[in-house]
Amino acid sequence: MSEVRACPTCGTELPADAPQGLCPQCLLAQGLKSSKGTEAAEAGQPPTTGFRRPFRPPTPAELAHHFPQLEVLDLLGQGGMGAVYKARQPGLDRIVALKILPPEAAEEPGFAERFGREARALARLSHPNIVAVYDFGQNDGLYYLLMEYVDGLNLRQLLQSGQLKPPQTLLIVPQVCEALQYAHDEGIVHRDIKPENILLDKKGRVKIADFGLAKLLGQAPLDLRLTGTRQVMGTPHYMAPEQMDRPLEVDHRADLYSLGVVLYEMLTGQLPLGRFVPPSQKVQVDVRLDEVVLRALEREPEQRYQRASEIKTDVESVQHAEPISEGPPALLLGRTPELEARVVEILRHDKIAAIRFFREATGAGLAAAKEAVEWIGRRRSERSGSFQSARNADKNSLSKDGLAAARQTLLAPALGLMLIGALNCTGLAVLLLSTIRLLSGGQFTVSNLGAQEAILLSMDGLLGLAILWGAWKMVRLKSLGLAQLGCVLALLPLSPCWFLGLPVGIWGLILLMRPEVRKHFPTSS
């Protein structure tokens, strides 16, 4: 009875109580679209438009009439951004892609001017990973772009085929980052990064398409464009939060968010919705990719990656998994102690923040920074014996420096116990000495001891020995039970040293109750 249906427009699952069986998000989105530019349009910002009629692309034959200089071969596909055809330039004998923009788009005032501007900006982009623009113009009211033809498929098709594996993802993403970084350096934001716009040619090269077209075609934040084929659809899911809330303040970091969504989808096959699960918990991928994804998907642009090249570095460092060395990482040689101190401070609260700080301070890559921060953490905990940094370091180093720290802590009470034990033993020692003297025919140097006192002294001595032994076991972390016994004996009023033994014994017992100390003792079988 409860089959899960998906909205044909945006692909999200329809809730059980969907109004009239329609997708609530799409309904709201459609409500946002206003009629042609009459609603508030900020100066210079293209008004929000909706393509209210489905765009029926002309057939190749019809187009030939408009483009006599081309041989228009096939319709490759269509989306809200128009229709794309495969064509041939007879003179140059090369295959090109001809993109026709929807005629409705051209009806806006100032479109021609904007089109020219955008096309010129796009033409400036010359990068192996960006689909090149050869020419653009307007033929009988039909706006067109002549572009590089990419013989391959797009990322959406690849995702749908189920053939995409993490190693391939890690090869694709850096190329996308390079393209984005290049474009951002040229001052161009894509605004519509999604799998449909990421093309892959037969040689495995990535080509990003439709750069800047989103802005050109007046993409409203919730402009769900119509399509004939179901595959290409502008879903809001790839859009950065600020693209929806504050569309005027969008900068290149919105592209980085979209890339984060795409990356997540490539790794897990699903969109990161709501409280999503980190990729490493869904599929078999390196845990370090989690941080990349999470950081790219930060809601606040300030918290996100600031440059595409940073994402590339991080992804590549995961790819070439570097082994963690034991000595001080090369990065730390020659660094100031202040840097280290600051790292330690942050490390007390949040390891990821400490790594981030270190990276910002030194420009290091993710893996190297992680290694450095962990090393710093280990060093500090061994020095000060504090448990705070030990808690933050990862599991392996935790047991190592936790051990040292535990020992450190127990040292003081153990010494106290040993002192008490020793004091108790002095009585015994005196007794023994005297006995020996007695046996060898001498006399007591101390006043004669009666039998009772002798017994008392021996008991004290035994007690002292027991305490000493317990203290030894404690400081060596050999036996919890004996250590505790030593403490208990010390605090019992059995000897004149009791006034000293009481506080030390209690102190020792308290310390031995702490889990971070206890766990270093062998568990009794």
Binding site: P8, D17, P19, C26, L28, L222
Partner: protein
């Protein structure tokens, strides 16, 4: 909301009552989600609305920030926080002004909702958005039904969620026994009417017509899974 503020007391109260009658479910669900059992929640809901309509609490709502939805939620929280008021709820009859609310349907709807790990406040926003859309679409359908075009609405309604691929126009023309051009026009009108109604309904709940766009964006964000 606009009517409620600008006009004299009885009309204001009626307008407010209409709003309350429309949007009671998200509030009821909120109260339920806060942990109150069915009966207690019913009493509280009734009582809350009664108080709302009796006291002229609308006067305290800031003119410019007038989002009825936020106001309602804040008032409800305040109401629930006041233990004395909660205890009193059991004794009141309530419901005189509001008319009887269909709590059975409400509870049924509540129990059919899947488990969420969102906060009650976030859920309130979501339910509000859903209730709003339900209201708009139901009213729109009723409009078409009255004009004898209920089946047309049903066939074409998916264009309202942006689906242009419901069927090619030529096929629709055949089904609806009309021309392609007429179908195009109908679709266009349907969309336009829907948008009008949606914006009207939202305008009822925000103080300022300029805030409608923002409210749509906020509701969209609230529905983001």
């Amino acid at each position: 909301m606009l009517a409620a503020r600008n006009q004299a007391a009885p009309q204001a109260r009626e307008a407010l009552a209409v709003l309350c009658r429309t949007y009671w479910y998200p509030l009821y669900a909120y109260i339920r989600h806060r942990g109150y059992d069915v009966h207690h929640a019913q009493d509280l809901t009734q009582d809350f609305f009664t108080r709302l309509l009796e006291k002229d609490s609308l006067a305290t709502v800031d003119r410019d920030k007038g989002k009825f939805r936020s106001f309602l939620l804040a008032a409800c929280k305040h109401f629930l926080a006041n233990a004395y008021d909660r205890a009193q709820a059991q004794k009141r009859g309530g419901g005189k002004i509001l008319g009887s609310l269909d709590f059975n349907a409400g509870e049924g709807r509540y129990s059919r909702e899947p488990a969420h790990d969102l906060t009650p406040e976030k859920l309130f926003e979501r339910r509000w958005a859903m209730t709003l859309l339900h209201q708009v679409l139901d009213d729109l359908r009723a409009e078409y039904e009255q004009a004898g075009k209920g089946s047309v609405f049903d066939r074409l309604k998916s264009v309202l969620s942006g689906d242009s691929d419901v069927a090619p126009y030529s096929q629709l023309a055949g089904e609806l026994n009309t021309s392609e051009a007429a179908v195009k026009m109908t679709v266009h009108r349907l969309r336009r009417r829907y948008r009008e109604r949606l914006r009207q309904e939202i305008a009822q709940t925000v103080g300022n017509p300029a805030h409608v766009e923002q409210e749509i964006r906020d509701l969209f964000a609230a529905l983001r899974p």
